[in-house]
Symmetry: C2
Subunit: 365 residues, 2 copies
């Protein structure tokens, strides 16, 4: 979505300003961090590098565009405080990623080792006492907590003023509760080997759609003091595009080119992810091809070979599950765009959000 | 400290009101939790029970007393919003405990299994997919995050008003950064087998004193709009009593009666905790009894027998480390009480804080 982030700014300027806001925030904590001493600064620097190194800034971009679309003036006095508030979403995201990477036992992220792996390595290299892996996780838990606490600090200190703080409070609150709820559902679905499409859809709704698009847009609208009609349109648009985005991601997790996704081919099959795609494939297999259903059930979540991944992929495609999901993506995008078109968002924001929706959901493999 | 919590209230009434405030907050989240569905409510209920079941409410009590001592009126309209803000400290504490128990691999807390152990057990009982211990930790990480996010929500929704929110913002922010910094120092000191008294003292300063007494008092003062002199007196009092409290706890961790402390005798020696007591014992041993020093270094942090614990205890005591620490506690309490006496806190608060200081630091073994 790189081309879509400069709404109300020169190309690339929004990302740069988000980076500046985040870097300034980290600088503002330096006094406290140095007072604690004892290696805390070095640890926080690893968090800072993680935050500044990365990601597509999707959440701040949707929040910022939501604010513009509700009449926010990118050249007005509120622009800088609003941008800081939008940027704070990246600190929530840092917590989500640090903790998720522990939960999923992921070893790489943003082109480098995950944070818990970095500290595990420090511990091992230094030949310190205790278990290196446990130490790495302990530090990553604490740094994730710090990022979550700092996200709140960054909003409170953004300068948006008491009225805007009151407006956004329930949105900010709901977003964090929803993403944590979605993460909880995700791990319990995996633990239960849950085969229901509804259950997978709920994870998409809360872990991805609400957190990534719906609530950021809602936050932007609330920052601008938007009316209920626009908020409702944003939320419907954001939910649909967010779910479509996750469905696209699910397809990429099975069929994506490793060179493009940066993840091993068929990664989601090996991890046993309970996606809508997989639930649909199972449903269809149960009714037309019980042998394949049995095979799918036995294989996912195990350490399958590349050729088995290829074979599973063929079965999932031949069952028609891919067309099912593609059709669902198309419908969701269509709905979302018609809601957006009928809304009172500014024409410029409508165009930007349409482009962002396309970038988030288009077929890329 | 049970007898000291009813400041400005009937005996026992403050604890009860804190419980009510917390229970009401959990009730206020129910709609969001139920919307997520899929077992999230049951998980959040375990968090709720953990929060409501427990602890001595030390942090809210210091914050509340700090507010009263700065002129807060327990029968005025601000009392209820202030009480809600003070109670939110218990949600920060829930996060700290859930995550600390993962970090320390603790199995019991507040008279029951720790939260990660509860979910590990659910997973095992249900014969779910994946590793039970990892699942338990994953859920406890997410519930700790939820508690931390909700602590902020509870403050923002407390009703204290925008001006008080501005006053407390830097205090709230510093407190959370400091406790996370203190926890970080604690685990790195253990990993490095750090033998410095200063390093152990920094953990006491940030993980215990700032978080448990200094900042809660500061928070209460800020809620009342107190002047810099009173804030400075509170902070000096809180730092000294907080450190003395931790030094007392260190003595209990080695010499405490298991029937009183609820922990196995000599627990800190087995865990290899890097306390001031232990650092002082090592220092003295190095200069007068190198053989004992060697033995102390080899034994702590290993699975030593009860009779070895007894022998280590005798060595630590005979080296004079206990008298050292007792003297330090005495000095800290004396300093703190003279700062408090000279402050502009109300006479009633002075008396209460003196009692709370005594309860937190007195010899009980």
């Amino acid at each position: 979505m790189e081309a879509t982030l400069s709404v109300g700014r020169r190309p690339g300027a929004l990302e740069a300003e988000i980076d500046v806001a985040l870097a300034e925030f980290f600088t503002s904590r330096r006094g406290q961090i140095d007072a604690v001493g004892g290696g805390f600064r070095e640890a926080v620097t690893i968090l800072e590098n993680f935050v500044l190194r990365g990601g597509k800034r999707v959440r701040p971009a949707f929040a910022w565009t939501g604010w513009l679309g509700a009449g926010g003036d990118p050249r007005g006095p509120q622009a800088a405080p609003v941008l800081r508030t939008c940027s704070a979403l990246e600190l929530v995201q840092a917590c989500a990623l640090l903790h998720d990477d522990i939960i999923d036992a992921s070893t790489t992220r943003r082109g480098g080792p995950t944070v818990h792996i970095q500290f595990e390595q420090h511990h091992r290299d230094g030949n310190w006492n205790g278990d290196s892996a446990h130490f790495g996780e302990a530090v990553a838990i604490l740094l994730g907590d710090l990022a979550l606490a700092w996200a709140d600090d960054m909003v409170r200190e953004s300068g948006i003023g008491p009225e805007a703080l009151v407006h956004i409070s329930p949105v900010w609150s709901a977003m964090r509760t929803e993403v944590l709820g979605g993460q909880f559902l995700d791990i319990t679905n995996e633990a239960h080997a849950n085969e229901s499409t509804d259950a997978a859809m709920k994870v998409n709704r809360y872990k991805t759609a609400a957190y990534t698009i719906e609530r950021p847009l809602h936050l932007g609208a609330a920052l601008a003091g938007a009316d209920d009609d626009l908020i409702s349109a944003y939320r419907r648009f954001g939910t649909d595009i967010g779910i479509a985005f996750q469905l696209r991601d699910d397809l990429l997790g099975v069929f994506g080119d490793p060179a493009v996704t940066g993840k091993p081919s068929g990664d989601d099959l090996r991890a046993g992810k309970r996606t809508v795609l997989f639930a649909k494939a199972l449903q269809r297999a149960d009714s037309v091809d019980p042998e394949s259903a049995e095979w799918l059930r036995c294989s996912v979540g195990t350490d399958i070979s590349d050729s088995e991944v290829d074979a599973l992929r063929d079965v999932i495609a031949s069952l028609g599950a891919v067309e099912d999901v593609e059709m669902q993506i198309e419908e969701l995008v269509e709905n979302a765009l018609s809601v957006l078109a009928a809304s009172t968002a500014t024409p410029e924001a409508k165009q930007q959000l349409t482009e962002m929706a396309a970038a988030a959901t288009r077929r890329t493999y």
